[in-house]
């Protein structure tokens, strides 16, 4: 959890999840091969997928138990997500409403903003968001541009923490809030993300596995839907 304290924080590693429409298997493989996204998800937002991926990004930083909590169904998911604070940035009001609805179902506290600029205002003070859902195709400021100040702020805080140790594993503190990128065009988004330095290169193998776990979860959730 992110707090305003200087010392003794538990940090999470960065995770970028790309949400996209009409992703083909070819595009998905490209994105994964580029080491970019552990998960590429369809936009518009599906409730089960959004929550599942969110849980994964929030869970993976603490201990490396990628698959463990995931397959216990939505009860476990709800428990893990309950009380988390999410910022949704999307200039489309209808989609924003759907995303918020999906997250609220898992008792997530949701803030919504229509633009990158408006979202950045929330970051002026140390804000405790656990993740951002960002539309990266907004006209005035695309999501990547909006995330740049976030990363700047994080890296500044990390530099201050340089030398500080994480109580869990003794590694250096790395403050990163997971950013979930929402887009209708995954290939261009992938290239833009790589150029913007979003690529998470730490554990590509684990991330591919992560996708499979999430996909499995999604499949099993869907099969319960049509009662």
């Amino acid at each position: 959890m992110l707090e305003g304290k200087q010392n003794g924080q538990v940090f999470k590693l960065p995770k970028v999840i790309l949400l996209a429409t009409n992703i083909t298997n070819v595009e998905l493989e490209k994105a994964k091969a580029a080491g970019f996204a552990d998960t590429v998800i369809m936009k518009p937002m599906r409730a089960s997928m959004a929550a599942a991926c969110l849980q994964q990004v929030l869970g993976i930083g603490k201990k490396r138990q990628a698959g463990k909590n995931m397959l216990n169904g939505s009860m476990a998911l709800q428990g893990l997500l309950c009380g988390k604070k999410i910022l949704v940035v999307d200039d489309n009001m209808v989609h924003q409403r759907v995303v918020a609805g999906a997250l609220k179902k898992f008792e997530v506290a949701v803030e919504c903003r229509e633009s990158g600029k408006a979202a950045l205002k929330l970051l002026q003070r140390p804000y405790c968001f656990d993740a951002y859902f960002m539309d990266i195709q907004m006209p005035e400021m695309n999501g990547f541009e909006a995330t740049h100040p976030i990363r700047m702020m994080e890296s500044k805080a990390n530099k201050q923490m340089n030398g500080g140790m994480d109580e869990d594993s003794g590694r250096k503190g790395e403050w990163h809030v997971p950013i979930l990128a929402m887009t209708a065009d995954v290939i261009h988004a992938t290239y833009d993300a790589l150029n913007a330095g979003w690529m998470d290169v730490s554990k590509p193998f684990e991330e591919a596995k992560l996708y499979q776990v999430v996909a499995e979860f999604f499949k099993s959730t869907r099969s319960n839907c049509f009662t």
Partner: protein, 150 residues
Amino acid sequence: MERNPMRRQLAIMRQSLFDQGHVDEQFVQLEELQDDANPNFVEEVVTLYYRDSARIILNIEQALERKPFDFRKLDAYMHQFKGSSSSIGAKKVKAESTLFREYCKSGNGEGCMRSFQQLKKEYATLRKKLGAYFQLARQAGPVETASRPK
């Protein structure tokens, strides 16, 4: 199988929305978000969609009155409209939006106008069908209570 005839009619109506291609699985996603805490979620989101769409359609109409066409602007409007339509699972409307955007990209003014007329038709049909569906849903009442039909 629903014992309540209204509920049965509602189920048939719902199925035809899918069978006739008016809505796709995203609509199911909205339904899944509806629960006791949010009993009218689907209708609320659809209502928001109507408000949003009305604004965009007006913008497009006005833009199509100005010659020469500003295809970039038209495409931007339609991008918004497509996003909203896709968020509620409006399948036919979404498909027509895609077509319109292709005409924009190729600078085909005639195509844009034709496509827009078709889009408005599909949109009107969708509103009519969803309107009837929600009205029946309200009359049928929540599943638990034995409410008298109006």
